[in-house]
């Protein structure tokens, strides 16, 4: 029992072991490239235009913060708490957003190409015009998300949840979807091209 608790404690320490100098730099300069910000507290702050590319922010607390036009390319954002966070017009290409908790966050115009969104919670997000091209979407939850004019190209959405999502003019190309998802998307006036597989 003690060994299990010790292992859990060590695991928690490892997950939240950010570099304090990196956090200081991020908070003061709004720029921290290739930084170790694992488990850091970045909540309720304004990071508009910040540059975090190549950083490890896994498990960080980013709730209610503003990351307008911020650069998160090639970042690890897995397990981040981003409820109500604003990422408007930012870039998150090739990043790991698996298991991110982003309920109610704003991803309008965000570039998420080639990102990992497996098990991500995107419920109720405002993701108008977001680009999900080549993103991994295993069990991604888009319930009630606003995905109008967003782009899904070469995604496998068959295990993702799209219930009650807004799909007006959402573009799907070469995506794999369930028949039910296809029916729903067409009803929502999404644009499905001939390469979409409904099965």
């Amino acid at each position: 029992m003690k060994a299990v608790l010790a292992a859990m404690l060590m695991g928690w320490i490892a997950l939240s072991a950010y570099d304090p100098t990196h956090l200081k730099k991020a908070m003061e300069e709004k720029e921290c490239i290739g930084c170790d910000l694992r488990g850091a507290n970045l909540s309720n702050s304004d990071f508009s235009g910040a540059d975090f590319h190549g950083s490890d922010l896994s498990g960080a607390d980013m709730r209610e913060s503003i990351f307008e036009m911020a650069d998160f390319n090639d970042c690890n954002l897995s397990g981040v708490n981003a409820r109500g966070t604003l990422f408007w017009k930012g870039t998150m290409m090739r990043s790991d957003l698996s298991s991110i908790q982003a309920r109610g966050a704003n991803f309008k115009g965000v570039h998420l190409e080639h990102s990992n969104l497996n098990f991500a919670d995107f419920r109720g997000t405002k993701s108008w015009k977001a680009d999900f091209t080549d993103a991994q979407t295993v069990k991604t939850d888009f319930t009630d998300a606003e995905l109008g004019d967003a782009k899904f190209i070469r995604n496998n959405l068959s295990t993702a949840k799209l219930a009650k999502s807004l799909l007006w003019q959402t573009r799907f190309s070469a995506t794999v979807m369930t028949k039910q998802q296809c029916v729903y998307a067409r009803k929502e006036e999404a644009l499905l091209d001939a390469k979409v597989i409904c099965r």
Binding site: K126, W128, K129, E146, G148, D149, L166, W168, Q169, E189
Partner: protein
Amino acid sequence: MVKFIAIACLTVLSLFGGVIQEDEQFKTAVASMGSDTKLVLMLYTTDECPECAYMKQKVFHEKGVEAYLYRHFVIIEKNVHKSKLPEGYDFFGIPTMFFIDKTGRKKETIVGSKRPQPFLSELHRIRGLQ
């Protein structure tokens, strides 16, 4: 440098008109109401705004919304990059919808798009505001 700043200031100021009562679109909208007690819905848009298109092309024409909207409101649209914007009507997001009574009093502001049913509920609520 001073010249440049002056030109920049004039450019910015040129986008802001006078008070809403002097705005030509507003005056036309009020005139079109006659004796009806409608509200003006002033919609701020830009060219590249899918949410604006969603409101204009989809929500405003949705069953249930359209009849109520046009019975009780007069819509005017301003492209924030091209139109003169009246004083006191700043915006923090696009689309922004201002609801204004005949006298030019702002009754409510909605930022962002809304789906048809919640939008209709908002219209009912705003119309009931004193």
